[in-house]
């Protein structure tokens, strides 16, 4: 019952890792809940609670805070995009 987590750009640098495999804790079933769970690690991870600009994607599609998260999903967090 794990999910694949990915971090990009300035968030990746800040957290010091491009991603991880996470055992999904009971009750963590949305992007908002997942952000709370990650923020609880403290230190640099508090950005998941404090940042208002952080974006998320579930299975490679943009996802809002209410978007569901379930075992097997690929979940990515990143700052606003700046391509083009």
């Amino acid at each position: 019952m794990t999910i694949k987590l990915l971090y990009f750009a300035s968030l990746r640098e800040r957290l010091g890792t491009p991603g991880e495999s996470l055992e999904l804790p009971a009750g963590v079933d949305s992007i908002a809940a997942l952000r709370g769970h990650l923020a609880a690690r403290g230190g640099d991870w508090q950005v998941f609670a404090t940042s208002t600009s952080l974006r998320a994607a579930v299975n490679q599609a943009m996802a809002g805070p209410e978007a569901g998260v379930k075992a097997g999903d690929e979940v990515a967090f990143f700052p606003p995009v700046t391509g083009g």
Binding site: F8, S10, Q60, A61, G84
Partner: protein, 146 residues
Amino acid sequence: MSVSVQQADFDVGMETSALSAGDDGAGAVASFVGLVRGEDIHAMTLEHYPGMTEKALAEIVAQAHTRWQLRRVRVIHRVGRLLPGDRIVFVGVSSSHRGDAFAACEFIMDYLKTRAPFWKKEDTAAGGRWVDARESDDSAASRWEK
């Protein structure tokens, strides 16, 4: 293949020609090239989210096809380290008439800027600096919601 994400440069003349080659009904080709501005940077590195990037671009192109009468669309976005003056992105659209070609080309660029997972990091005299998203890009994209 209408969408490419690649490190290599592209050939604007060849890409533009390919949008109308062999198509008697293509009367208009609108295109856009975005370049690295070099006013105060040494280089720029483009990071992206492999897999999602291609999906996001294909989805934007599909939306353009539902909004306008288009014949062909081509999107190329480079990633990796680029230097001032280097090409970053190409968007080309062919249509029977110019109105649809212009609108779709600008729409694709506006959506790409706000919805495709690319991030730019500038290499400046003062060190590396992640580029901030621009408010004007959000408002350019929101024009198309009406």
